[in-house]
């Protein structure tokens, strides 16, 4: 559906804006998670076909005509994997944020000028 694509791209733009303009490390990670949600919304709404139902075969779906009644299940499966990987990336970024705070006692990104520490 087109509306879902529009909302997803709006979320991606807001997340990019947040990542570029904020200076707090945790705010940057929150912006990343907003981008993540937007991308998932875009992929799922690309796979949606109007007037069809969920690809789970139970009493409500005729088995013989299932190919004509359900939506595309591949984008759902891809997004299912991407959500879990997004959680892992968020946890890794937070671990780095805690480590950087332990080193310099500051969450401001402008205080970190070295290339390694």
């Amino acid at each position: 559906m087109t509306l879902g694509t529009v909302i997803g791209f709006a979320l991606i733009l807001i997340g990019v804006w947040g990542m570029l303009t904020r200076s707090n490390l945790i705010k940057i990670i929150i912006g990343f998670s907003i981008i993540d949600t937007g991308i998932h919304l875009v992929i799922v709404s690309i796979g949606y076909l109007p007037g069809r139902t969920a690809p789970i075969i139970d009493g409500a779906v005729d088995k013989a005509r299932a190919g004509l009644e359900v939506v595309d299940p591949i984008p759902s499966a891809l997004v299912l994997t991407a959500i879990v990987i997004g959680l892992a990336i968020t946890a890794l970024m937070l671990t780095y944020a805690v480590g950087m705070f332990r080193e310099k006692k500051s969450l401001n990104i402008g205080d970190y000028k070295e290339l390694k520490w």
Binding site: T53, A54, I56, D58, A60
Partner: protein
């Protein structure tokens, strides 16, 4: 006739979500925002069940159950963080 009644009920519930969302934007303290989040999720469970009724699939009610459990755990986690730091 009965279907129109369900449409009216869903529209009123949508309005309730929007009104509770205003408190989430406005609330002076994080506790106010968690109260607004709690009200929004309980109303959203009703909207999910109504969507399951309109679309005719019983499988969507399972999503409502997971939604209720997870929102309860999230509210308890945030409240414990406010009280004594998780």
């Amino acid at each position: 006739m009965a279907n129109q009644l369900f449409y009216i009920a869903t529209a009123i519930a949508l309005l309730a979500v929007v009104v509770a969302f205003l408190r989430l934007l406005k609330g002076p303290d994080p506790t106010d925002r968690v109260v607004a989040l709690d009200g929004m999720t309980i109303t959203s469970i009703s909207i999910i069940t109504a969507a399951a009724f309109f679309l005719g699939r019983v499988i969507y009610i399972d999503v409502a159950m997971v939604y209720a459990l997870v929102s309860f755990l999230g509210v308890v986690a945030i409240a414990r963080f406010i009280e004594r730091g998780l």
